[in-house]
Every structure is written in C-alpha cells, then in structure tokens.
C-alpha cells in the first residue's frame, strides 16, 4: 500500500517550487517599495537551482507514484526542465514591465511560480482528475495574471472572457471525465487504453466522454473551433502574460495531450486509427483559420495569437501522426514545442522591450525600428524568419522534422496543407519585417520626431532583455544548425511515453 510517505522524495522539486512561491510571497511583505525587483532575481535563482536539482535527482528515474497518478520519468523531467527554463526567461523578460506598469510585483512572481508548478504536474500526471486539478492550478494563475493590469479595461475584459470560457471548457472536460468514469470506472490513462482496446459493445457514452475530454484540452491549446478566446485574451493581457500564454500554457497543454494520447489512445491501435481523423481535422482547420485570419491583423499581440493558433494546428498534425510503430511524431512534437517556445520567446522579448520603450503595440508602430534599435530589429527578424520556418533557424528544422513525421505516417495531405499554410504565414511575418526594416519611422503623435517623443528608443534594451534576446537567438540558431543533442534528449523522453 502506498501512502503519502511513499518515495515522496521524487516530488522534492514540486514541493521546493511551491516553497519558493511561498518564500516570494513572504519576502514580498518585508521588502520596501522600489526594492521589489529583488523578488524577480530571487525567483530566477530559485528556478535555476530547481533545474539543477531536478536534473541531479531525477536523471533517468522511471517511477510511477500513487499507483499511477503521477509519473516521474524522463518525459516529465524533460518538460520540467523545459518549463522551469521558460519560467526563467519569462521572468527575465517581464521584469521591466512589471516594475513600471504593474502593482503587486511579489504576487505576480508568486503566481507565475505556481503556474509553473501546475505545468510541471500536468506533464507528470497520468490520471484525469490529477491532470484536471493541475490544469486548474495553471489556469487560475493565468486568470489572475491576465487581469493583472487592474486599471486597464482590456485586461479585465480579457480575464473575464478567459475565465468564463475556461470554466465552461473545464466543465465540459469534467463531464467527459464523468462519462468515461461512468462507463469504464477508471480514470488512469493506461487503464483507459486497456478499456478502449477491450471495449466492444460498451455504451457510446465512453466515446462521447473521450470526445468531451478532448474538447477541454483543445480549448487549452486553442485549436479551432475552441480558439476564439485566444485573440482577445492575448490582446488584453499584460504583455509578458501574453508571452507566457503563448509559450507556457500551450506547451503544458500539449505535454498533457501528448501523454494522454500516447498512453491512453495509441496503445489501442485500431481505436486510435479511428480517432486520428478527429485530430487531423482539428489540425487542418486550426492551421488554416489561424494563418488566414492572422493576415488581417493590425495589433501585434493579436497577430501573435492567431499565429499561435496556426502553430497549434501544426503541432496537432504531429499529434495526429503518433503511432506505436515509430516515435518520430512524438519527437517531432516535442522538438517543435521547444523550438516554437524559444522562438516565440525571442519575438515576444523583442516586442516587449519595444513596448517598454514606447507603449505601442500596433504593427505600424514598428516603422524604422531597424534604424534606432538594430539589435532588437535583428532579433525580431530572426525570430520571425524562424516562425515562418526558414533556415538557418530552429523553425526550419523543427518544421521539417515534424512534417516528415506526419508524412511518413501516411498523412502526406496534412503535411502538404501544413506546408502551404506556413507559406501563408510567411506573408504576415514578412509584413512585420517590412515595417521594421523597410518602412521609415512614423511621426510621433505630436507630429514631432518619434525619438524626441520616446527618448527610450535611443537607449539600449535593459540587461535582462538583452540576456533573453541574446541567448534566445543563439538557441534558435543552434537548434536550426545542429539540433542533434536536443533531439537525442527528446528521443529518450518520448520513449518513456510511447512505450
């Protein structure tokens, strides 16, 4: 019988993370105003320490806690490190913003840490309820963070929309859980796989239930037609939170989806073949709608939202191609998640520091950026090229890998569609680039010179930003030129799930 005490040490990173959050909250109470910046550095230090800790502790551990509620395996380790690292980047890139534009800094970082904890648990959980609670931990933090710019009507609105739609989706998900439970009596992924494989004349409630669970997750990854919240929330939320939405929560949801499908569906081979079409359809619609609507956007955040919908479509195509006979697809999905998140990180970091300088977020505001912020422009450019999937950046290799996987699993049409829609995406990415490099700087509101109006434009981006941008660009080029080390790690990770 396994109780609380049962090899609990494997959860040390999680407890430590929660502890770190509490620490931030408490330190916040004693820090004088204006010194709150330390909290960011504190959490960064903590996160880095946690990365090291988890690597040391959990290196090739293959354990399943609480008779299979939680998995401590290379998959969860991979994502743990990934999420923690992303957390570091997010905090770095949000420091200036939080300091100058938000109140309650301590709570901001605390909630951020909690949400990271939620993401870690999502990647670990192997049971529906656990997954759901972890997901709610993430979502709640995000609801709050989205509303964090309290006085901004847009921020409130986005939070309201987010929480309402989120609650509905989680209700639907839960209803699905209840249906699955009422037919199979189980909620663990592997048991579901067994049930699916065995199920013959079982009541259709099972299938409908599975469908509803998918709805809940599709909402999280903002796949069409469950995507409509995304643009509004992205636009309304504070900039760093938007970045976090695009990078963290999406990745976490996909990690969960990957494990659910990998452990719960794929083993039931012939059932899975029936379900593949659902994913294919969702993927196709998402990539098309996302990229097409993005063509018509003027607001950078909103554009990034639609582009992220499109990318969700690509990743879903990868999920579609999951199969027992090769883990190419799961590798591809994970590779894509990493590459996409880092690239997005770079793009958002550039946009955030531009926002910090000017407080503008329209595409046309970027005019002439290359002249007064060459480094920023270069980073933005590389990021966009990478998102568009051009070499020598991560975007190319990851797309190539993923689409190859999709094609080899017999979904050549889907791969072709994905390639085509990434052509569409190239168009609006280039439009941003055109503003940055080709168009002259727009005149300020006063009709005067932009630089006089925003002297910040002449100064260098802040150190944390430079760190994020520099390391991020280095990373995407590295992934674009020689991804082998990462992919080998990924192969190890995906073997844990794709058994």
């Amino acid at each position: 019988m396994n109780g609380l005490s049962d090899n609990l040490e494997l959860l040390t990173p999680e407890f430590a993370l929660a502890g770190l959050a509490f620490l931030v909250f408490t330190v916040d109470l004693f820090l004088p105003k204006g010194r709150k910046g330390y909290l960011a550095w504190l959490s960064i230090a903590g996160l880095i320490a946690l990365i090291v800790l988890s690597l040391v502790m959990l290196w090739d551990e293959e354990e399943s806690l609480y008779n299979g509620l939680l998995a401590v395996d290379s998959f969860s380790l991979f994502f743990k490190v990934f999420f923690l690292g992303m957390g570091v980047f997010i905090i770095l890139s949000s420091m200036d913003f939080v300091e100058h534009r938000l109140k309650y800094q301590g709570e901001f970082y605390g909630l951020l840490l909690f949400s990271i904890l939620g993401m870690n648990l999502m990647a670990q959980s192997r049971e529906l309820l656990t997954a759901y609670i972890a997901l709610e931990l993430l979502s709640f933090s995000l609801y709050v963070l989205a509303a964090y710019a309290k006085d901004s009507a847009k921020s409130n609105e986005s939070a309201l929309k987010y929480i309402i739609v989120g609650a509905v989706s989680s209700a639907i998900l839960l209803y699905g859980v209840s249906m699955v439970y009422s037919t199979l009596g189980v909620t663990k992924f592997d048991d579901i796989a067994i049930g699916l494989a065995a199920a013959t004349d079982v009541s259709p409630a099972l299938w409908v239930g599975v469908g509803l669970i998918l709805v809940g997750l599709m909402f999280k990854v903002s796949a069409v037609p469950f995507h409509m919240w995304a643009p509004d929330v992205y636009e309304g939320a504070p900039y760093p939170v938007t970045a976090y939405l695009a990078i963290g929560s999406k990745a976490a949801a996909f990690a969960l989806l990957l494990r659910l499908v990998g452990e719960g569906f794929v083993p039931a081979a012939e059932r899975w073949e029936q379900w593949q079409l659902v994913f294919a359809a969702l993927a196709a619609v998402s990539m098309l709608v996302g990229n097409l609507v993005a063509l018509a956007q003027k607001n950078l955040k909103r554009l990034m939202a639609y582009s992220s919908i499109g990318h969700a479509g690509f990743i879903l195509a990868g999920i579609t191609a999951l199969s027992t006979n090769s883990d190419l697809a799961s590798n591809g999905v994970m590779f894509y998640l990493v590459g996409y998140s880092i690239t997005n990180m770079v793009v958002f970091a550039a946009l955030i520091s531009f926002f910090n300088m000017t407080g503008k977020e329209l595409i046309t505001d970027l005019g002439g950026l290359a002249d007064h912020q060459p480094f920023l422009a270069a980073c933005l450019g590389m990021g966009l090229f990478s998102l568009a999937g051009l070499p020598i950046f991560a975007g190319f290799t990851m797309k190539f890998y993923l689409f190859t996987a999709v094609a080899t699993e017999g979904f050549l049409w889907l791969a072709a569609l994905a390639i085509f829609s990434s052509l569409i995406s190239l168009y609006y990415y280039l439009n941003i680039l055109r503003q940055v490099y080709i168009e002259p700087a727009p005149a300020g509101e006063g009709g005067g010179d932009l630089l006089e109006e925003y002297p910040a434009l002449t100064r260098r981006p802040s150190l944390p930003m430079l760190t994020v941008l520099g390391s991020g660009v280095a990373a995407i080029i590295w992934l674009g030129v020689y991804p082998r080390p990462l992919i080998e790690a990924i192969e190890a990770a995906s073997r844990a799930v794709m058994s």
Binding site: V165, P204, V208, V215, F226, P231, A281
Partner: protein, 639 residues
C-alpha cells in the same frame, strides 16, 4: 596548303590588337590590318601554288566524287559535345576545305579587301573612329575568309554570323546618323531571318547524317543515305540563308540601305564579302541542290531571275548613284543565282568574280566622286570627267564591264550565264535573262553618262581627282575588270581555261554560242548608245514614256513598296503583338493571376476574422457547436 588557315587568322589576330592598343599605335594601327590582309593575300598565292602541285597522293587530298575536283580537307578537334565515343556524342572540328571554289574566293576576297583597305586609308582619314574602322574591317575580311575555308557547317555558320555582325558594325559605323543606325539594324535582322532557315537546315542535315562535315553530307546525298525529302528541304532551308545574305527577293531590302555605311564598306560588302556569301553557300552545297531531280535548283533559278529583273528595273529609275549601284548588285546577284539554278556552276562563280572586281571598282569610283563632290544625287553631277579624269576612266571601265561590252570581264561571264540558261531552262528564262542584261547595260550607261558626261555644273569646278592612295586600288581593279575575262579561254599550254579549273561534275572547255553572243553584244551596244542619246545628246526624250507609264513608274520608283509593306508589318503586327504580350504579362499574368489570388486570400482572412465577435457568449456558443460537431463525428465514426 594546310597552312591556309593562316589567311583568316591574321585578320582575327589584328582586330583585337587594334581595338585595345590601336589608340597608342601610329596610324591608329591601320597598317596592322592592311598587313594582315596583305599577308593573307600572299599566303593565298602559296596555297594556289601548292594546290596546283598537289594530287591524290598529297596528304588530306582526294578527288571529290561530287565535283570531280581535287579537294583537300584538313581538320583539328574543336570541342566534343558528349563524351568521346559515347552514343549520341558529336565532335566538332576546326576544319578547312580547299578546292578551286575556295581558291577562287580566297583570291577575290583577299585582293578586293586589300584594295578597299588601302583605299580607305585616304578615304577615312581624320575620322574619330579610324582605328575601330580598320579593326572591324579586318575582322570582316577574316570572317569572310573563314566562311570560304570552312569544311563543316558549324564553322561555316559561325563565320556566316560573324560576317553579319561585322557588316552590322560597319553599316552602322556612323551610328550617330539615325539612318545608318536603322540601316545597320535592318541589315542584321533581315539577314538573321534568313539565318534561321540556314541553322534549321544545318541541324536538319545533322539529324540525318549525324555529322556537321559538308563532305559527309554530300556523301550521304550521293549514296542516297539522305532521303530526297530531307535533301530538298535542307537545300531550300540553306537557300533561305543564302537569300538573306545575297539580298534575294524578298530579303533584298537591306542592301540598298546598307550604303549608309562608308562607301569603301559598300564596296567590300557588294563585291567581296557579305552578299556573295549567299552565292558561295549555294555553290558550296551544290550537291544538295542538284541531288535527285534538283527541285531546289528550280526554286533558286526562279528567285534569282525575279530578283535580277526587279532590281534592274529599279536601278533604271533610281537617281542616287550608290543606290543605282546597289540595285545593280542585287540584279547581278540574281543573275548568279539564276545561273546556279540553271546548273551554270562555273558561269556563276566566274560572274561572281568578274562582278566582284567591277563592282568594287564602281563603288570606289563612286566613293572618290562623293569624297570630292560630297554629292550622291546623279542629277547634281555631270561632266565630272573634266575634273576627275582618272575616276571617270576606271568608273567607265567598270560600267562597261557590267554592261557586257565585249572583251571586258563582265561580258564573258554574262555570256557564260546566258549559255547555261539557254542549255537548261526554257525560252521564257532566256528571254527574261536577255532583257535583264539589256536593262543592266542601260542603267550602267545611264549612271556613267549622268555622272561623267554632259555639261559640268559650276559648283563642281573646284573638285579634284582622287589622291594616290585611292587611285592606286582603282587602277589595279580597273586592270582586272578589263582583263579578267581572258582567263576563261583555254590558252595553249598549261592552263585549260577557267571552265577546266573550276567546275561541277566535269570540266568543260570554253565554248560560245554565236547567236547568243551576237545578240548580247548587239543589245549591250544598243543599250549604251540609247543611254548616250538620252542622257548626253538629249536627242531622245523620255517624257512621253514617263507620262504614259506613270503608274508603273511610280511603283518602280518606290521599289515595289517592299519597305512600306515590311514597315507596316513590323509596326502593325510584330510590335502590336509584342505590346499586347507585354500588356498581357502585366495585366493578366501579374495583376490578375498573381495579385488576384493574393488579394482573395487577404480578403478571405478579413472576412473570416469576423467570427471572433468579441462577445463571450458567442465564444461559448462556438465551443458548444464544436463539441456537438465532435460528438456527431464520434457517433458517425467511432461508436
């Protein structure tokens, strides 16, 4: 003999040197080019000599099955298309072919070119692009010599095109003059159209024979390896090229305008290089033409005759001196073609040479006239013999020679042609040919009398005769125009007459149809007398004739409206079509087929974004519908 390749190489070497270093050399390097062509002339004699001494035993020499002539062929690899020996690969050669035809042409070209260049020394003195002129000149001559020497079609085509481009450069030498510019363009493009035929013909032959060597082609025809259809087709295609270069109807339009170039250039073009290339090509590839039942030859003769007649009539009414000469050239080229078409191989080449010397002479004469008077309109000249006697004499020699006055070169060659035509073609041909001959005597007389006889206009009192550098070439050419005809006889002893030296099939001694000879002599003399009476004595007035045939006259004076028709076609067909395509590419391909889809996509995106209404209830609705859809799918597929 295998050193014959040196003849053109001199020129090819001289040209770039003059272009690059000319401005640093004394005399802008003109002497270099004269040296080059002179060297070629010298080598020519060696070649002739060694050919006379050669036999089947000599390396590379053999008696051709087609011509029955001693032919020598030397070649060196140029490049391989495809790996050597692999299936479907071809090897291309630098190759020279030497037989009497080649030798005759070599002599003509080197000599005339040399004369013209010497002449140009004085004529072009002080021109800003003096050096450039000589550079192109020697390139021109060199290309023509290559063309004459080539033993394979590829090399021939190469030289052919080079000749074309050089004529382009020389005709457009004074490119500041719009007329010169247009004339040059016209010359190149018109001949180029013919060249398309030539190239296609060559490729057709290659496709059949698998080699570009002319001898192989002839062999294939002789042995019947080349089918009649292909032989005929390729012959006619080659003839297209020849028509282009030799200004046969309907490609003749470029030649009259070509006089926009410096006059010596016209001399070269009309006498020794450009235009005779066509005739040479037909002669060179004669086996193709006379193969099977010689349909191509009929075409050749008809085209030749038509050209000769048409040009002669125009020359009769033209008033511009150089234009008269130009049309006379066309007319005589027509005669050569006619003769070839009538199996008059020897006659054609003979006439080619005789005409070459005479026409060079005439142009140089004309050149010296307008060098000193700066006039081209015959109307404003007259009586010039008083002020420039030498020119008058040599010009008259040339005119009489072309007019067919006995013992002058032109007489014999024309007579040969008449013989050939009378032997192998029907009466109409003979009559028309005679008529052409009559006309040519007439307009030659007209030109001669208008320019040099009659009262001298006072504005021409002060003009002087040609300087020595111009005079010398004219004299030498004059001598040839006088005496060249004599080589057609079989002299007791070594030389059996031109007919035994250069022939197709079997050599024949010089022979003479008395009635034809008499007839032509009478006609020629009559023609000149009439011309004298009209233009000098003024005892016959043409006004009556003019007024009665005003209509025809108008047509003729407008050169049968060829230019107008072509211009119209270019303006209203070619250019309109081109503009349409240009418009099509922008308006249809670009604006509709390219921007269209792009815009549609963007519009679609703009429309599609409306589904995100901003109202959270509709988002929930969307999710509900999505779930329902998913449920329905589940019902359909899974459950």
């Amino acid at each position: 003999m295998q050193w014959a390749w040196l003849i053109p190489v001199f020129g090819f070497a001289a040209a770039p040197i003059i272009v690059v270093f000319g401005r640093y050399l004394p005399g802008k390097g003109s002497w270099l080019s004269i040296l080059a062509i002179g060297g070629g002339f010298v080598v020519f004699w060696f070649v002739l000599n060694s050919w006379l001494g050669a036999s089947n035993a000599t390396s590379g020499c053999f008696t051709s099955e087609n011509t029955g002539l001693l032919t020598c062929d030397y070649e060196r690899v140029w490049f391989n298309a495809g790996i050597v020996g692999a299936a479907g690969s071809v090897t291309l050669f630098w190759g020279i072919l030497i037989d009497p035809l080649t030798i005759a042409m070599l002599g003509l070209v080197t000599f005339v070119a040399l004369m013209v260049q010497v002449y140009s020394l004085a004529y072009m003195k002080g021109d800003p692009r003096f050096g450039w002129y000589f550079a192109v000149h020697s390139l021109f001559a060199a290309s023509m010599l290559t063309l004459v020497l080539a033993d394979n079609f590829l090399l021939l085509y190469v030289a052919w095109e080079l000749v074309g481009i050089c004529s382009y450069l020389l005709i457009g030498f004074w490119h500041e003059r719009p007329k010169a510019r247009e004339a040059a363009k016209k010359a190149f493009i018109v001949t180029r159209i013919g060249d398309v035929g030539l190239l296609i013909g060559i490729l057709l032959i290659w496709r059949e024979v698998g080699s570009f060597s002319m001898l192989d082609a002839f062999e294939a025809v002789r042995t019947g390896a080349m089918s009649e259809g292909v032989a005929t087709a390729s012959a006619i295609l080659l003839f297209l090229g020849a028509m282009g270069k030799s200004a046969q109807i309907p490609f003749h339009v470029w030649l009259p305008d070509a006089m926009e170039g410096p006059t010596p250039v016209s001399a070269l073009i009309h006498a020794a290089t450009m235009v005779i290339a066509g005739v040479y090509l037909v002669a060179r590839t004669f086996p193709l033409f006379e193969a099977y039942d010689a349909v191509p030859l009929l075409v050749v003769s008809i085209v030749g005759l038509a050209t000769a007649l048409m040009a002669a009539t125009i020359a009769l009414v033209a008033t511009d001196l150089k234009r008269i000469l130009a049309y006379s050239t066309i007319s005589h080229l027509g005669l050569m073609m006619l003769s070839l078409g009538a199996f008059g191989y020897t006659a054609a080449i003979f006439h080619l040479m005789a005409h070459g010397f005479s026409k060079a002479l005439l142009f140089l004469g004309a050149g010296s006239v307008l060098h000193s008077t700066e006039l081209q309109e015959t109307g404003e000249m007259g009586g010039l013999r008083k002020v420039m006697p030498l020119t008058a004499i040599v010009f008259s020699i040339g005119a009489l020679s072309l007019g067919g006055i006995p013992i002058l070169a032109g007489f014999w060659s024309k007579d040969e042609i008449l013989v050939a035509v009378s032997d192998n073609r029907n009466l109409t041909f003979i009559v028309l040919t005679l008529f052409t001959a009559l006309l040519s005597a007439l307009y030659m007389g007209r030109a001669m009398f208008l320019v040099f006889f009659g009262p001298l206009k006072e504005r021409n009192n002060q003009v002087h005769d040609a300087p020595i550098a111009m005079a010398l070439p004219m004299v030498l050419l004059g001598v040839l125009a006088l005496g060249f005809g004599l080589i057609s006889f079989n002299w007791p002893g070594s030389f059996g007459g031109f007919g035994t030296f250069l022939f197709f099939g079997h050599g024949e001694e010089f022979h003479f149809k008395v009635w034809l000879g008499v007839l032509s002599i009478v006609m020629a003399v009559a023609a000149f007398t009439v011309a004298y009476l009209i233009y000098v004595r003024r005892s016959i007035s043409l006004d009556g004739v003019r007024s009665r045939n005003a209509g025809i006259l108008k047509v003729i004076e407008n050169q049968y409206y060829f230019d107008e028709v072509y211009q119209w076609t270019v303006d209203h067909v070619v250019l309109v079509f081109a503009r349409f395509i240009g418009y099509f590419d922008r308006a249809i391909v670009n604006d509709i087929l390219v921007n269209g889809p792009a815009d549609v996509t963007r519009k679609f995106g703009i429309m599609l974004r409306l589904h995100v209404t901003g109202n959270v209830s509709s988002y929930a609705l969307g999710m509900a519908l999505g779930s329902v859809g998913l449920g329905i799918f589940v019902w359909l597929r899974v459950a």
